[in-house]
Point group: C3
Chain length 349, copies 3
């Protein structure tokens, strides 16, 4: 994780290049390289604050700020009207977490520790929730793709807002579940993570959180500004940028944590990061983006067929993986293979 | 359950209104309100008879009469040529049982009893059967939606009848399985239910069964007669009536039993009602309706895409829910949320 | 198994008939009847060699020659440009193994032994792999069916070759997994099978293997040569031949072994044959056929919608069946019922 700090050098570089008016494609790359360490800092800041706030508020902060980078990037993409990028990055975050992060965790963890076991019960609760959440989120799209689009246009947004309200309610109820009514299920898992002490003072932690948020916002604007130029110059589709590149940029720091945890044989933590992060994307980030879109042009939560396939594949695999309570390197390789095939399919679009 | 008795007052009201020639939409509502307590009486009558007939015939009666109300309503819809209503009410019964009934049972049961466990083995047998049954029932539709409809028209009914014959054979074999070759699996579950004694004399039970069947038939005709008027005046689609309203009307009594069982911490019974009832719909009611349709116009068992999605979602969720052997209020909320989103999607059609 | 030997008489009969220039449809039938015992001999030859080569090389030989018959038939179909037959026979082998073989094993095994249990862990590893493999193999098709075909034509083969390379890599890695890094998981299962001794000398075994391969090749050419005539004269589609007939012909010997094992209450072995054979088809046979097709006309691995549905249904059911560690005759009946309905649907095409 420490090595990420050196990447902060890309922030001043990106500012200088912006001043020198370099091409938007290069700005995209520089912004991407800047956001990776900033997202890491933001995560560290949130974690430090949670030492002062106690486990409940800390858990809430972690759950809510965990995908803040993604949310900020998507906000700027939304402002630019890049709906396809926003929607595909929601789908891409889920498949990135379930296939890429979980796959890499199982591969590297499995190479070090022959066979790794995890708490089946906790993982099953999360992966069940993921199934319900993905199903709920996809239903409007599934319905939409099977009727004449002209018939339904005016009611799309109504349904999207309804789904968004339902999702956010479930998000709130799931926090009530894990921090109040059923906190005992998560007790042991949380203990392991929380036996550290704060490295930073509270004011430093809050300062880091604020500063990293501000810089992520600025760099996100550079990033989004470069998407069009990048897709044109490299012949990529917006879908590829949204489903593969943006989720990797936004979650790189978190991803490396999951892999490190897997290599320390804390497979529970690695899986919780991957599945938990997917859940937050669907139950929190996606509805918030729908609400925010009302400020500009209302965005409907209708995924295209590719995104639906990717989401459904990811959720089926997450449920399968969780149901045996064990993992090994071959399972990791297979998850990565599915990710690669999906990425290749989006690449040739 | 007793409170349902007071609703019997809607029977004479509906007769008077019919005599006064009130609008068919109002007749629909009155018939619906009459059918709910009648279905409850029919269920009670069947249960009482099973005290006299012994567990085997009793089990068979319960299994076969469990969805009699649904069958009667569908028969009249079939007679009127309302195929879309009939097919969507088959799909609607399955999703109503799996999402609405199971969801409400888990929610209310879970609020009272922190975490409820059930016999994983029995539930897995049922939910496996549900998977196979739904897959078998949906294959003709899945094939049909992917080929040029003009090519296949003439062979549809042949395939539908073939599927119906297969389904009814599996239904008979599943009765052989649960009452003869593998009755030990169900032994403990049945004992719990059967330690009561008959409240009614046999002749009273048979009388109640006959009278309630006759009145359900009359009210079903009122109900079906009002569908067209209702869809027009409220701007609803026939699909919404079939998939949401009719299953709720036909199964309300059964639904309340499931929820009461869950609140008494008999989660096994609640789940068996929900999944068992879905199985009966697919393996018994659906094929019987196909056979009956040969008396009028042959009905093909080709679901539309919406119904397919709803069925597949329901069966995936039923399998997921059954695989961990435990339930809590949050799982209930999530099932209800998926049901609400599906209902909302059908609502905007 | 011994009874299959008598069927070898069809080899000379087929040669005589070829010489007499009988109709290609009859040649198809005779070739089919010849291939069944030849495939059995080839399997026996491979098994005998494995007694001399030790378990590692033996396991590899079994894994690789297990579907040699299928591979040879498909090679000649490929040479004739019968791509639809080749692709549908890949899908057909998977559904044949998972639905027909597993169904028949569970039915006949279950009739003899009330309820049969199997090693859940080993089966779960295989059925997880099957899920990942099928998902990976189907992604190009799923993507292709949702975009304008004219847009993508030129890049199809590239994606197919990429998928083939990924599949064959996973196949090699899975051999590394089961023979090197994780051989302990399979230890007990293999021991049971290997406590026999060689019946044949090594030279006899090799001789049998070579001769049966040569005759399978000749008969496969007769078989493929008769497909067109057969489909025309019986009014069948090429899909039906590919998805139902060819897999049954190619795997009949293996199928009978699985059923015999199930009746001996070795359900583990029966399931491993069914699921393991499906895995080899996807991870080894399918990619090899794509590579071989480059010698003639490149074949893309884009399944049609029917094949996709059949594959996805098969894999879902395999995963469901494996997750409870037990089987009974009713489960067998249900698998066979799903197979019958799929076969009937392809029949009416």
């Amino acid at each position: 994780m420490k090595v990420l700090r050196y990447m902060l050098i890309f922030i001043p570089i990106s500012f200088i290049c912006k001043f020198l008016n370099v091409s938007p494609s290069i700005m995209f790359v520089l912004a991407a390289l800047s956001i990776v360490p900033l997202a890491g800092l933001m995560g560290e800041g949130t974690e430090e604050i949670s030492f002062y706030s106690g486990p409940k508020i800390g858990g809430f902060l972690n759950a809510t700020f965990g995908n803040a980078t993604e949310l900020i990037i998507s906000f700027f993409a939304l402002k630019e009207g890049l709906f396809e990028v926003v929607k595909s990055s929601i789908a891409g975050s889920v498949i990135g977490n379930v296939l890429l992060v979980l796959g890499a965790s199982m591969l590297f963890g499995g190479l070090k520790h022959k066979s790794q076991s995890f708490n089946k019960k906790v993982v099953e609760v999360s992966s069940s929730m993921l199934l319900f959440a993905v199903v709920g989120l996809c239903i409007p799209a599934l319905f939409t793709h099977t009727v004449d689009p002209e018939l339904l246009n005016t009611r799309y947004e109504g349904l999207s807002i309804f789904v968004a309200v339902v999702m956010i309610l479930i998000y709130i109820l799931s926090l009530v579940f894990s921090f109040f009514t059923h906190k005992h299920i998560y007790a042991s898992a949380n203990e392991e993570e929380n036996h550290g002490t704060a490295k930073w003072s509270l004011s430093k932690a809050i300062g880091v959180l604020i500063i990293s948020t501000v810089f992520i916002a600025i760099e996100s604007e550079f990033l989004v500004g470069g998407i069009e130029s990048l897709t044109e110059s490299l012949g990529l589709s917006e879908f590829f940028v949204g489903i593969i590149l943006i989720p990797i940029i936004g979650n790189a720091a978190e991803h490396s944590t999951a892999i490190i945890m897997a290599m320390k044989n804390k497979m529970d933590v690695a899986i919780e990061i991957a599945i938990g992060s997917s859940l937050q994307i669907i139950l929190f980030v996606a509805p918030v983006l729908i609400f925010l879109s009302l400020l500009f042009t209302p965005m409907s939560i209708v995924f295209n067929e590719f995104e639906l396939i990717a989401l459904i594949v990811a959720v089926l695999i997450a449920n399968r993986v969780s149901s045996d309570g064990e993992s090994n390197w071959l399972e990791g390789v297979q998850l990565l293979a599915v990710y690669l095939i999906i990425a290749a399919s989006f690449f040739i679009l």
